[in-house]
């Protein structure tokens, strides 16, 4: 089986690379270029989740954001902003996009009843589409609102930083998407 890993934290980056090498299956390990610049850690805990298990990056009770790689950090920033309005947003870090940890996602949706799948990639048929369709299929009875997706726009990625910022999800657009979801 093909394994696709998308670490979002320094600890995951380290442990998942080592675990990935140890696997017999072919592994696609996605390092987010821009996380290099920013993501620092003084030390790495030896305790780590196995490949195929997602991590609750931030607990909450009003809505779930499922994200991977750099978008986990954007989701956490958006959740912090909504905290001041009284909304508690749970953020799930997928860690591995394939295999997808449906159990953790469904448990989270069971707690919150609302789902926003967040990805930095194009909307068509991406990771977020897979998450939403699996949750609709297996967790329909858990939902209070239709599950939503937020992705980059369905156009080539612009080069200029301002254009690019309007092309990809940012904490503002994530907040707005969450507000729509919470209002349903």
């Amino acid at each position: 089986m093909l394994i696709v890993l998308t670490p979002a934290t320094v600890a995951d980056a380290y442990h998942m690379l080592i675990d990935g090498v140890a696997l017999n299956d072919p592994v696609v390990y996605c390092e987010h270029k821009f996380l290099y610049r920013w993501l620092k850690a003084k030390s790495i805990n030896n305790e780590h989740l196995p490949i195929g298990q997602a991590r609750i990056a931030r607990p909450g009770k009003h809505a779930t954001v499922v994200a991977y790689s750099a978008m986990v950090h954007e989701a956490v920033r958006a959740a912090d902003r909504l905290q001041s309005d009284g909304w508690e947003i749970e953020v799930v870090d997928l860690r591995s996009v394939k295999p997808l940890d449906l159990d953790t996602i469904l448990a989270s949706v069971a707690r919150t009843g609302r789902l926003l799948a967040l990805g930095e990639a194009f909307p068509w048929g991406g990771v977020t589409a897979e998450v939403v369709s699996l949750v609709s299929e297996h967790g329909f009875h858990l939902l209070d609102a239709p599950p939503q997706r937020l992705n980059a726009r369905d156009t080539p990625i612009p080069y200029h930083p301002k254009l690019w910022a309007s092309h990809r999800p940012t904490p503002e657009s994530i907040c707005e998407a969450l507000r729509h979801l919470l209002a349903f």
Partner: protein, 412 residues
């Protein structure tokens, strides 16, 4: 002087925009709080936009005959600082500050910046007015509002064995006033503190039947019925038939003349009675059962006495079979036996009509013949009908026929 924007308010739950009908003030006018300043028309009614505070009209941007969506800027008011403090309204400046958060400049140390996406040596600025790629959730018309039940809510109700009728007591705090799972659980916790008992299966059966029946539009009409002739005839019989039997016979004969009143609507089909089998409501402990008397139009009253007595006795002993209660086309209920003079009975869910009899009361009734008020025993007969099938006129014809037949008890 600070400026307060005049925004198109939310005029109704599903109103998204309104058309300006008339501008009721002009630039320079002094206005009070809650004064009507712009008359607008929605698809529901004509109403007015009112001011939030005292002030002077500084600018009017709305044009008569043009539609503006909820939240649009229609004009501006000049308002004194004291008035703003007094009323707490938003000024134009404070609203704009909320919409456009202050920009970052240069290589910011602010932890809120998307620093990890910044390119080196670039004065990165936060992009203004980001448009999310997910639009507002398309909510179909039937889904908005208090009656929407989400899949999660539906699952929870199924777990608890509840139906929509059961949650009508719960105040909804969800969007549009709908009941959320949290509301329901809070309500059930609240009910824990109340004394309660388990509903018997009889009670639940009646509850289910009445709930299903009530989903139809029911209407009730009534007539006064003079009982003296029937009472007189009855007193000379041995064994003595109950008054209900007289009514049962009159009802069956009337229905056989007007079978359309007992038609049952399913989709686009009306099912006609094939045999005039009429049920009689019998009150038992904790509920009501309705055994059915067969072919009432074909048997004279004397022949019905034994069959009826047997059914009532078995009903009270709870020894009726399913077959005893099946196949009725209408029901008679004598709530007069409880001393009730008027009522609005509910037909069985599989029937269109129910005839009710109230208690007989001695009243002065005008007699055209004698030209005076004479004492008579008057009772109310009521017919509750499914208004999808029967109208007042049809119900009236039927009830009048029943009343007329009751004046001739020897023919029953």
């Amino acid at each position: 002087m600070p400026t307060v924007p005049i925004l198109m308010p939310q005029l109704g739950e599903s109103i998204a925009e309104a058309t300006i009908v008339r501008l009721q003030v002009a630039v320079g006018d002094t206005v009070r709080a809650d004064q009507d300043i712009i008359e607008v028309e929605t698809n529901k009614a004509i109403m007015s936009v009112t001011t939030l505070c005292n002030g002077t009209v500084a600018e009017i941007r709305a044009k008569e005959g043009v539609s503006y969506s909820v939240g649009s800027l229609l004009g501006l008011l000049d308002v004194t600082a004291e008035e703003i403090v007094r009323t707490g309204v938003e000024t134009l400046e404070s609203l704009e500050a909320k919409r456009n958060p202050p920009k970052l400049s240069g290589t910011s140390q602010d932890s809120d910046a998307n620093v990890h996406f910044a390119l080196e040596d670039d004065g990165y600025e936060e992009a203004p007015a980001v448009v999310p790629s997910v639009k507002g959730l398309p909510v179909p018309i039937g889904v908005m509002g208090a009656h929407y039940i989400s899949p999660r809510m539906r699952a929870r109700m199924d777990d608890l064995g509840l139906r929509e009728a059961d949650i009508s007591a719960v105040v909804g705090t969800g969007a549009g006033g709908r009941v959320t799972v949290e509301d329901l659980e809070g309500f059930l916790d609240y009910l824990e503190a109340w004394p309660s008992s388990h509903a018997s299966s009889m009670r639940l059966a009646v509850a289910d039947a009445m709930r299903r029946s009530w989903t139809r539009p029911l209407a009730t009409v009534g007539l006064p019925l003079l009982l003296d002739r029937a009472i007189d005839h009855r007193s000379r019989q041995n064994p003595t038939p109950g008054l209900t039997l007289y009514l049962l016979r009159a009802f069956a004969l009337a229905l056989s003349e007007l079978p359309a009143t007992a038609g049952y609507l399913i989709g686009e089909k009306i099912v006609h009675p094939r045999s005039f089998d009429i049920g009689v409501a019998v009150q038992v402990k904790d509920g009501v059962v309705v055994p059915v008397v067969r072919k009432v139009n074909r048997k004279p009253l004397v022949e019905l006495i034994d069959e009826y007595a047997d059914l009532v006795a078995r009903a009270r002993q709870r020894r009726l079979t399913e077959a005893d209660c099946k196949g009725g086309i209408a029901t008679v209920t004598n709530f007069g036996t409880f001393g009730l003079t008027s009522g609005t009975p509910i037909p069985l869910p599989n029937e269109t009509i129910i005839l009710g009899l109230g208690a007989g009361v001695k009243r002065p009734i005008w007699s055209e013949q004698v030209g005076a008020f004479l004492p008579a025993t008057e009772a109310s007969i009521v017919l509750t009908f499914d208004h999808r099938v029967v109208d007042g006129g049809g119900a009236g014809v039927l009830l009048n026929r029943v009343a007329a037949l009751m004046q001739n008890p020897q023919a029953l």
